[in-house]
Amino acid sequence: MSRTDAVTRILFEAFPTAEVRLFYALGYTAIGIFCWGVYVQIRKYRRGAALALEGSVWSRVGDMIGNVLSHRTVDRRDHAAGGAHRLIFYGFALLFLGTATITLQYDILEPLFGIRFWQGKFYLIFSLVLDIAGVAMLGGLLYMMYRRGWMKLPKLDYARPDRSAGDPDFERPEYRREDWAFLWTLLIIGFTGYFLEAARLVWLQARPDVWDTRWWSPVGAAIAEGLGSLGLTAHGGGVLRLSLWWFHGLLALIFIALIPFTKVKHIFTASASLMVRDPLAAQRLPRVPETQTAPGVSKITDLTWKQLLNLDACTKCGRCHEACPARAVGAPLSPRDVILSLREFANATLESGTLPPAAELEVHGKSPGQVAMETLWSCRTCMACVEICPVAVEHVPIIVQMRRKLVEDGAMDPLLTKTLQTIHKTGNSFGESKRKRGAWTKVLPFKVKDARKEPVDVLWFVGDYASFDPRNQRVTQIFAALLHEAGVDFGILYDGESNAGNDVRRVGEEGLYEVLAESNISALAGATFNTIVTTDPHSYNTIRNEYPDFGGKYEIQHYTSFLKKLFADGKLEVGRPLGFRTTFHDPCHLGRFNKGYEAPRDLLRLVGCELVDMKRSRDNSFCCGAGGGRIWIPDPVGSEKPAQNRIREAAAIPGLEVYVVSCPKDLTMFEDALKTTGNEGKFVVKELIELVREAVPVRQAEALPA
């Protein structure tokens, strides 16, 4: 045996037998507490409603491992935090694995099979790796402390927009204490580890197998040199080693025991949450199961086990809080706080041995842990929260399912009640006669085919706003003329079309949504066509992602990709490049919901416009405030509206000429916000269709109304 082969980790050397036994007893106790905690948590999740996951488990596991190892989701929109977390994660994971390997040999492989691998070169390399891992972890932890203590990031401020100062759960200082306790515990475990290592080196400096290989633990060796130069003797090192050993070991055991009871559990819950992630969580809302007697979420146990798990995955990173348009304009909603409230509620009610009576499980209300209706109605279902959440918390389906209960109780704004009744009666939110749905075609010099009466290549699903809103009708007519000019064989459903239901569903009126979806699907079944095109991202989303659940499977495109193709095929040609300085507002339902980021930008470049993106663009686009049925609910007087907030962002672009939208509701919202923010005359709001029309010389010029 060569000299390095003899090198191995010094474990219980010089320990009295009683102390070794004591340590094992404590170790098993810690593991026991950990297991009990895990059981309590799993029991909590199992008290939620049933849910069957789609797809293969292995691809879910693969995705989860990919996300966790790459830290892709943690990195987004906050690279510094992502980087620091990566250091902590890899540092901690390596240290944990290293320690686990010791157990593997010392307690399992060696006593049972006589296998020893924890020695020689393997040990030395491992020793080096773990020393570096410790540095990484401590570096990450120190940055996180700096971030919490000195950077004063608004997203880490736990004060709630849905509570006022003085409410018992307004600021939740216990969360801050827990954050700091977590950081300090890991930091102390890390530092004492190094000092323990150093003390051991000083203690055993006479043994060449230990001392000569000390630089394989560079941090420990450096500290040992320092301690030695301060006069620590071998005997002193031995004493220090024993006390640090116990301190470090006990702290680590306490940490392990507390994992299931503290935020540390995110190690498991966040990974599990990523594993059960639904990539269409906000795009395709859940149906009400046939067996469910009361619709929506009323009690905490009406949430599915997966949603209860989501609640526990939240690490309060505040990215949803930062991204939420309702929160940004001071509405009483933060997606983070909805999740935390429900989590506190679940922990208070579902962790005990017996389930409390149903009356104590009601999550609607104003008590701590409950969610107020004002909060739920503030949501625009824009998906900004779901999209950015690093641990796959799915806020929007939870909020909509809670709204279903409010709708059933009639607990909503009277104007919204009226609108829902109107949509039920007339099939559109404008209260117009069904017969007038195709009236916008009358001014066109050509006839738009009735797709119910003759086959068409392209079926154009027009949508409510594009059909009835006078300003949007002009855009609709231009789009018809462009299709006509390009020789597209297209038609519409006229009065066979109803409101697509996207927003009705997001309001939480699932019954009415079903009526609308079924009515449109049966109207589409009566038409012959190859593909659907729409100018309305809301209709686009629900037809694309939600109609399949009702038996309506179609190929559907938003007009931006359709027009792009017409240009590519030479059916439309740019005659007059426009040269405007523009910015583009990504509609939630086109961008975040359906990843249609490129087609509108390509079109803008195609018509010769300069594009200057706003800071909040693409996946971080800022909702106009109209989503989730909020277009039918008046915003509070005197407070900023999301659309105004957005127009102010655009107004900061020097020399901006055109604020470009590609959604009928956006046109309405932003033309209004342009006026109310006093930016009228500085730049204009235009539909992308209008810009295309300006750039394309149309032979039938008279085909286009002014």
Partner: protein, 266 residues
Amino acid sequence: MKILIAVKQVAALDEDFEIREDGRDVKEEFLIRDLNEWDDYSLEEAVKIKETSSDPVEVVVVSVAAEEADESLRKCLAKGADRAIRVWDEGVEGSDPVAIARVLAAVAKSERPDMLFAGVQSSDQTFAATGIATAAFLGWPHAAVVSSLDYSPGAKSAVFRRELEGGLLHEVEIQCPAVLTIQLGINTPRYASLRSIKQAAAKPIEVKTLADLALSAGDVGEPGSHSRVRRMYIPDKGQAQLIEGDAAAQAQRLAQIIREFKGDAA
């Protein structure tokens, strides 16, 4: 305890409607049907009484109408009515409010409610007569345009308020059973979710004929009515024109029109 509510499915005009060939009504296909707005309030008032009462209260809605009114009756069931009765017979066609009231009174006699609510008026015909005529047939006390009500089911009397001209309120005590016609704004009618409407579709609607109520063909329709619609029409439009131009030109043109109107030579 029981509250009976007379309801009607009314018609609203669609865009560009046309008058029927006989000239007495609008063509069916241009009408959009819905529950009369006033009836929504009287139903809500009854359901609220039921919900706050310690004794069981049965809320029964009744309509004298053809099958198409079932849609509105289901909406009433979805909003909390316990039962729905629809009375129909071919001969009812052409009934005026008094003939309809005769049928409603017959239903009230067999149901024996503690109180009968009706809307102040229907939004399509606006006679505002059915409720009060029903009270006349029953010989019950009655009051119209009730805007606030204090009533405990089974009590011998109820107190209600009515709004009078000049901002005055009229507080009245009335003996029960009585017929009250309910004004808009007395409460906030609840929203009937589509889910509850679908569930109500499973509840039966009791259909009665004239014979079931011991009425004859002569009690309804034109024979049983005191009035009949002669024609429904759009009056000739008056004349209006916008005078354009600047103030001086407008004034000159206006003076010219006045002179022409007076018959002065220009």
